[in-house]
Symmetry: C7
Subunit: 95 residues, 7 copies
């Protein structure tokens, strides 16, 4: 995938259609619908008011949890990707 | 639980289904519904505009009170967890 | 009461069900309903963008006035407490 | 009156029920209803993000104009007082 | 007029009921209704987060244009005045 | 035109009633209606929280594009002018 | 195209009416409709509160993805352009 996110955005591949990561279950409720993804590429970081880059907390390869309704979807070769802001990521899953 | 919260988020296990912690009662009203939980893991802290991490005020093991409708629920082995922002925590319960 | 508020929150016991403190009357109107309370414990202060704690203006033992609809109620031994932000406090009552 | 406002709040006694201060008339319209008051006590000032107090622009004894719907009313000995933020004050009246 | 505006507010006398200043016409439309006024007195300036006063851009005697629906009206001796924030002023009219 | 905009406002004469600037066409759609104008005068710049003026990016004589619904209209000698914030300007047209 | 965007705005030519860039597909859904474009010109950057320019992350010639409903459209010689804020760009496409 040749997309490069800008600022504090990241690109993730949606990997969990079955709402499970190992023993972790991501229940869909009226209020929320978390899904998992794999980070493909990471923006350079937001530029602060002082002109410096703010560091990013995820790197390519991380498995992450995010709400299903965030960001913008793109597709390539039957894979689905989401471009989202890093602040939309709820948590990383440690291997 | 292998989830690692990002930024100023924390992961808590919901431990009080009966709305009581010792002698403290957490009444549900039309406007509010506090519950208790145990902090499982803590994010590294939000990055300020100057690029430094802001310290977190809770640590793993703390018992906390939070509103029932905050954050995102995940489940594992019949336990329920919530990923929330630290600012959603109302108070710690001292042992 | 073993609750420890976080950041710039405080814990107060609701002490005035009769809407009077000495000669001061706290009228309930369509728009407002002030009540009085006694500060039980005080958070360590909010962390500013520069990473320092902002000092708190009340201490345990202060009698305060606040709007009845702020914060979250908890109960213990027939006493009612409210966890609120310091900015929800309208005034202190000098003895 | 023994109330001590916090932060950038002030306590004022409502003194003008007749909507006049000397030759100045405060008309009530569909959109606005200014009234006058006398400053009784003044908070210590808001704490800025850098941790310092921001100075207050009124002192006890000042006659002020403010919109009728701001703040919270309290009463004592047939006098009516309002606790409001300094930013709710429209102007001072010079003697 | 003895009113002294606070912070970044100014007091202006409404001088143009006929919607003209020299050859300039101020048309009333569905969306806007500019009027002219003369600055009578000027607040000391807003206090910034660093505790310093921000300078004001108008002085007593300036002729200004502002939207008819801003601020709060007061009257004295058949003159109408408006207390408004400096940011409500659209432009000065050079003599 | 004797109007002097304040802060980060500018005064522009509306010059393009026919929605064309050279070969550039400004289409009106349900969501947008860009028009062109000529900058007549420029405010001194907004004052930042640190008390310094922020520089302006346009100068008198620039041809600019802006949305038709921004700012406040004034008229003089059959010309129409708009007082707007610099941030309402979409682009300059290079000659 | 002779338009020069101001501040942190950019001018892009809309190049993908068929919703495909190489093997990447940009699906239209109820919630989103990403399209691609080519950056034509780039503003000088937003001025921060400290008065310095914040650097831009795209340059003329970059292929970008953005939501179809952002910014303002202009046309020239059968080409369609959009003036948008840099923050409206979702990602760059690497060649």
């Amino acid at each position: 995938m040749s997309l490069q996110p800008l600022q504090d955005r990241i690109l993730a591949e949606v990997v969990s259609a079955d709402k499970k990561v190992g023993s972790i279950i991501l229940p869909e409720t009226a209020r929320q619908n978390p899904v998992t993804g794999k980070v493909i590429s990471v923006g350079p970081g937001k530029i602060s008011e002082s002109g410096s880059r703010l560091p990013m907390d995820v790197t390519a390869g991380d498995t992450i949890i995010f709400e299903n309704n965030v960001g913008t979807e793109v597709k390539e070769d039957d894979h689905t990707y989401v471009i989202m802001k890093q602040s939309d990521i709820l948590a990383k899953i440690n291997n």
